[in-house]
């Protein structure tokens, strides 16, 4: 995972791979176009700045949620399609907690626990937000993390563990089953309606060249939490044997067993870390965007896959960088193409990267 190593490798790739060069060229043309736009006033700096900020925030969510996916992808060797619904589950559990704390005594407990299903309570009315109800938010984030850990461990024990030795594709298909079941159970309980969850957060407008970029309290909260957790995971994996054990397992699980690595324990650790991050990511995602629906995680999932693949499966830094890249692509693509294609653009970038450099930017340990 060394940065320096990555750098030199990157340089070699540029020489060896004409595809990357072409890609670079395309990027250069786009940037040139943006530059011209800025110069002629077709694009405003502050407008571009706002999009960039939006993309960064989105990227942090994707990156944070992507770490868990990346870890399970490389270690358990399957693309977990239930990951998106773990995000949703985390978000619902966390927000039920936040509603309960912020609205206790002010509304029916049942309605609060169901996160205001069918418009019975509104987060806005309860004034939920980092500044308004800091306790509710912190508690919500913590519960989101913990309950997602519990959920992932439960699903692992009941669903994935019995078929641990099967091929990655078997597990992938199984995870689709988990995704379906989970998503529609959530819908069954919490209803399919989209609800607004927060009060409008206070914001500041920062002057940027020719206008303002608005940054609100929830942006800041997201940045702090995501940054903190990413750093935490980094330290955890650097300072303990766990990180290396994970890589060894990702490489050759049978041998890892023979070597004495307690594989089941490592798997559990992976779910704990990955699940925790995922749950918190789900919570923060909802805090940041302000709405919650049973489909949120699933909609995010493909972007997360894009990010993880972009960054290189198994690489924590890859997930983060990939997340930022995908977030920025999704947000900033409107500068060049119709907004209807912004999601498509993110997928497109992923496909291009897969073709140019299938092992991802960070050349994570692919587990083919």
């Amino acid at each position: 995972m060394g940065i320096a190593e990555t750098y030199t490798r990157g340089r070699q790739v540029a020489v060896a791979r004409p595809g990357s060069v072409l890609l670079g060229l395309v990027v250069a043309v786009l940037l040139f176009d943006l530059g011209v736009g800025l110069a002629t006033g077709d694009n405003s700096f502050s407008g571009v700045g706002s999009l960039m900020w939006d993309g960064l925030m989105r990227g942090l969510v994707i990156g944070l949620a992507g770490i868990g996916l990346s870890m399970t992808y490389s270690i358990l060797n399957f693309a977990n399609f239930a990951h998106g619904d773990y995000i949703t589950a985390g978000a619902f559990s966390g927000w039920a907690t936040s509603y309960l704390i912020a609205g206790f005594g002010r509304a029916d407990v049942g309605a609060l626990l169901l996160v205001g299903a069918s418009g019975s309570v509104f987060g806005g009315t309860l004034g939920i937000g980092v500044t308004g109800t800091p306790l509710a938010v912190v508690a919500g984030a913590v519960v989101a993390g913990l309950s997602t850990v519990a959920l992932t461990l439960f699903v692992d024990r009941t669903v994935f563990k019995p078929i641990r030795d099967e091929s990655g594709i078997t597990l992938l298909i199984t995870s689709v089953g988990v995704a379906f079941a989970l998503r529609y159970i959530i819908q069954f309980v919490f209803s399919s309606s989209v609800r607004g969850t927060t009060d409008q957060p206070p914001s500041v407008s920062l002057y940027f060249v020719d206008g303002f970029v608005r940054i609100n309290a929830h942006d800041i909260a997201l940045a702090v939490v995501a940054g903190g957790l990413m750093l935490g995971v980094h330290l955890l994996l650097q300072l303990t044997k766990l990180g290396k054990a994970m890589r060894a397992m990702a490489d050759n699980e049978d041998l890892a067993q023979i070597t004495g690595i307690p594989t089941e324990q490592v798997v559990r650790a992976v779910w704990v870390i990955g699940g925790g991050l995922t749950g918190v990511a789900g919570y923060m995602f909802v805090l940041w965007k302000g709405t919650l629906g049973f489909n949120d995680g699933w909609l995010l999932l493909l972007l997360i896959f894009a990010a993880v693949i972009l960054g290189g499966i198994g690489s924590i830094y890859g997930a983060i960088v990939g997340g930022l890249a995908i977030g920025l692509t999704a947000s900033m693509s409107v500068i060049w193409i119709p907004s209807a294609f912004s999601r498509a653009a993110a997928f497109f970038v992923m496909i291009v990267i897969l073709l140019v450099k299938p092992e991802g930017i960070f050349s994570g340990r692919s587990t083919a």
């Binding site: 806005g124 989209v194 206008g211 907004s339 209807a340």
Partner: protein, 438 residues
Amino acid sequence: IGSPDGGGGGGDDGGEMTETDSGGGDDGGEMTETDSGGGAEGPDGLVVIGYPESGIQLFRDYYSASDGNEEILVSDGLRDPAMPGQVGNDMANVTGTAPAAGGPSQEAFNELFQEEYDASPGVFTAQSYDSVAIQLLANAAAGENDGTAIRDQMRNVANPGGMEVTPDNLIAGIEAAANGEDVNYQGASSVTNFNEAGDPASAAYNIWEFNADDGSVENVEKQSFEGANPEGAGPSADSIPGGTDREMSVGILLPETGGLASVGGPMIQAAQLPAMQVNDANPAGLSVNAQLEDTQTSPSAGTAAAESLVSAGVPSVCGSASSGVNVPVSQQVFIPNEIVGCSPSSTALSVTNLDDNDYIFRTAPSDLLQGRVMAQVMANRLGADTVSVLHVNNDYGQQLAGRFVETFEGEVYHQVAFNKGASSYSSVISTALSPPDS
């Protein structure tokens, strides 16, 4: 309203504005151009055509990108009192239009609804009630559960001539129809006279605002339109066979889940009311078997649901709600199976144009008019000269936005379609708030 063959331009002379009060400029003024997501000048106003499900996210993204200086005009689809609570903003800069329940017996319906469900009726509930009521009357008049027979009685029972029937005396009306008498249903939503295309011959629109304090929607003004042929027109059977002591079937095909779930719930309640009334009273030995199916606001689920209504043998259906579902369901299920479809809320122009063999009716007015109302409200009431239009990317959004742009006299900077169910609309908002492309 607007003859169907008029295509795009027929609307202007199709209706006549009977009441105009577009003076309310008290909250319209002050166009301070600030930082809304860009340095250069964006539009004065925004038009948003969509549904609450995605509207919540859209408005959240809007309020985090802008100070709320734009005048925003929304369509009927977004008339959900929960919006300010869901958005976390009082949405004071939002004004809306919606087909009004402007019918003669509106009050009667409101009371009925209030009494049964202990809630005030929402948007399109009156139309839903009317739809089912007319179908039951037509069924009673036809004397059999047969789509074609019912089709031929639809105008007989809805258009002028005969005994006036309202929600209050629906029972009497059904009895009369069953006895072969001509009746004239005077609806809760409008006088419910059908024109040649099966659309309402007249329409009314409410202009409304959110009241964030008590979580309601306030109607601030009503505008009524009459079509070229307010009495209605079109073919109908010459005789009314009638018939007693039988069970009438009717289908209700509305969204319980999906994008329109929040609107669909009350509509379903309203649609079930006439059936309850009849079953309670059993006029002329008639009872009603009302079959409910959920469209899930999705064309494929809607078609499947409609098929199961066909299997169950219903001759007529109240539905479906949104044009995106109504058009395929009509084409694929109603028309070939010769079932009468009467939508309470599908307003798209394309419904008018369906090659429907006269099986497709609706109690909601075509968007031909709403677009024009919106253009007028935007220009006169809200005083915006430059706007961007955001519309949900489906039949309804496309056509209503198209109508608006056609009739709006100011400048339209951007017309942006957004997809339902996306997790972020910030790029859409950013496009809409940006200055026009040079």
